[in-house]
């Protein structure tokens, strides 16, 4: 890695003693000696193993659940159902007033995605839990499923999630988070070229080497210590407190050393049910996702569909940008309404465009609920935007890098969401990229500055 100190040198004092120093990581010694304690690195006498029975269907009504055989199976200590969960219908962003509550901790009358949790087996051994899970009998009435954004938004589509009443999240702004800036139709009318393209992506998994999980210990004090690899300690504590209707003072979350997160460990999924198990059995409980659960059950990055329509002038200026973004939330909200909103704020990218229209939709389908991942709300949008930029450059016959210089945002430029640009550095990154890759760029672009416009 190379630090190029000559850029923005006048905005920075480089006289710090600890900051800027390449100190060894204090935690690395534990990592290389295998002594770092991850949540699962503890042995507890009497530990129970929690195994979830999951839906084999994308969408089905549950007619009946028969636990009689599973309950009698040797080694089974308790089976948890929705009836055991005090506040079974929840949503994770309740704490920041994003509703409605739309997801069941354990399914009641319906399952809305293949893999949805129905009952939790607590057993003395993993083997016994697996054996008992095979003996749970669920009677399903399979319902028509909606598996894509287009299917979900088609007229007459089956409703995925009744708590929403329609297959998209309803913002205060309506069916999408909107950004309206300038007059996009006038922009298109005056443009030399118009280019409309559609982009897409499949769901992506965080795939941390350590799977999501927790170990809960009921303490003599009546409290519950939960060793967890959550990315957000109090978020987990507070949501657990709501779901279990348990005073937060009874909960003690211990974590902070996580085997990779990438956004995959911000959903509060394993802790509430494991703590409930510990409460109802009085024994320590371990609920750790198998690798297959991590890959297919834990929330992925959402699949997205983006339609971008741009008006561009012969000289390379983008004069209008219209974006319709669709985030495939799967069956439940989790963090997706937030992600779609973040996506709306991100457009039109790091470029100054006078006329912008954005509609960002959070769409429900009968799929694994998606949620946060590294680059949440932005990664797929950036892919679409930057491929679009390349196409636009070729459309007007410009070099793709020079085309970006023409449109790059600078300090003081008004963004589409009506905040003035501050601290921009896109131009300098591109200047350095041109230098590092021997990409020929006209001198006038190399003289540009993010801090001020020429002339």
């Amino acid at each position: 890695m190379e630090l190029r100190k000559e850029y923005f040198a006048d905005e920075r004092k480089d006289d710090l003693k600890e900051i800027g120093q390449p100190r060894l990581r204090s935690d690395a010694l534990g990592h290389v000696t295998g002594t770092t304690t991850f949540f699962a690195d503890r042995n507890l006498p009497g530990l129970l193993h929690l195994k979830m029975v999951r839906s084999p269907h994308h969408h089905a009504r549950i007619r009946a659940i028969d636990l009689s055989e599973a309950g009698r199976h040797p080694g089974v200590v308790r089976i948890l159902t929705a009836d055991d969960v005090p506040h079974n219908v929840y949503t994770i962003l309740t704490l920041i007033q994003v509703g409605p509550e739309d997801e069941t901790v354990l399914a009641t009358d319906k399952v809305r995605w293949k893999g949805e949790a129905i009952v939790a087996i607590l057993a003395d051994s993993e083997r016994a839990a697996h054996e008992a899970a095979e003996r749970v009998k669920v009677d399903y009435e399979v319902l028509p499923a909606v598996l894509s954004i287009d299917e979900a938004l088609a007229p007459g589509a089956p409703i995925v999630n009744e708590y929403h009443g329609q297959n998209y999240y309803r913002y205060d702004s309506g069916e999408s988070r909107k950004v309206r800036f300038g007059d996009v139709e006038a922009g298109f009318a005056g443009a030399d070229h118009i280019l409309e393209q559609t982009y897409g992506s499949g769901p992506i998994e965080h795939a941390p080497t350590e799977t999501t999980g927790c170990i809960v210990v009921p303490e003599g004090s009546g409290r519950y210590t939960c060793y967890t690899n959550t990315q957000a300690m109090f978020f987990t504590l507070d949501n657990t407190s709501i779901i279990l209707q348990m005073d937060g003072a009874k909960l003690h979350m211990v974590g902070g050393t996580v085997g990779g997160g990438f956004g995959g460990k911000v959903d509060v999924i394993v802790e509430p049910i494991a703590i409930l198990g510990a409460k109802l059995t009085g024994r320590p409980v371990s609920f750790i996702y198998s690798r297959e659960e991590e890959m297919q059950i834990s929330s992925p990055r959402a699949a997205e569909k983006l339609v971008i329509k741009d008006g561009v002038m012969r000289d390379g200026r983008i004069v209008a940008r219209y974006v319709k973004a669709y985030i495939d939330a799967g069956a439940y909200s989790r963090h997706s309404p937030y992600g779609a909103q973040k996506s709306a704020a991100h457009f039109p990218g790091p470029y100054t465009v006078p006329n912008v229209w954005v509609d960002s939709h959070c769409v429900y389908t009968n799929r694994t609920p998606s949620s946060a991942m590294r680059g949440f709300g932005v990664t797929i949008g950036d892919f679409a935007l930057e491929v679009q930029m390349d196409k636009l450059a070729r459309l007007v016959g410009m070099d793709p890098l020079e085309f970006r210089f023409v449109n790059a945002y600078r300090d003081g430029d008004m963004k589409a969401h009506r905040q003035p640009t501050e601290g921009a550095a896109l131009i300098e990154c591109m200047q350095e990229a041109a230098r590092a890759s021997n990409w020929p760029v006209s001198e006038k672009y190399l003289q540009m500055s993010s801090a001020r416009r020429e002339g």
Binding site: P74, S125, E126, R127, A128, E134, S290
Partner: protein, 267 residues
Amino acid sequence: MGLGLKTFPTLAAAGEALAASATARYLGGGTLVVRSANEGDVRFDTYVTASEQALTDITVADGRATIGAGVTMARIVREPALGFLAPVAKAVGGAAIRNMATVGGNLFAPVPYGDFAVALLALDANLDIDGQPVAASTFLAGRDTTHARALVRSVSFALPVDGTFKFAKASRIRPKGVSVVTIAAVVEERAGTISSARIAYGCMADRPIRAPAVEMALVGKARTAEGIAAALAVATEGTTPPTDAIASAWYRSEVLPVHLKRLLLSA
């Protein structure tokens, strides 16, 4: 109920134990069956294994090689007399898996695994099952039915003439990746033309298969771009490639002739 391990001194005794219990599974290197147990497969409760010496023997004599079913991929890589098979064994898993995965297990490995079995098929290997020779092709055809619970003691094959054995595995990930397509070939040439050819594919059906149309089309031709053209044209004949997480059936069919061409024309 839990799991248990029973170790027997001979394969025959292990076979009796397996025959006596529908919930017993033979344990070779563990890469398939222990994984199943870890993942919650409760259809079996007993591992059965045998410590018979022949399972780990390698004999190379009189132009023939016999490899015990318990021989690991790593042993094959290290065995000087089987140098031509080293690239095949190295194509299986990473370093740790190669120290565990066995020749016998590979014969049972479901698609997209089982690269070594592809080579055995091209080598026209015979399997020792209960002391009876069974052609690899026969075994593979009956792998899910007549031979589903077969215990393989060893595999044996005639050593190919130097330079006639070729192997290629296309995968998405390097150096350790699961197969898109795997091709093994034994191609003999005489006076500039192909005198005999045995071609086997992995991942072009639900188990390793031979490519008889290709073999026929190669005999009598030169091993040149023009010479193999007719064979490439029938490369996918008789194949029913799977679609899985690695590649679609369409993609496998499209790239098979490309990889076959590259393999056949390689030095």
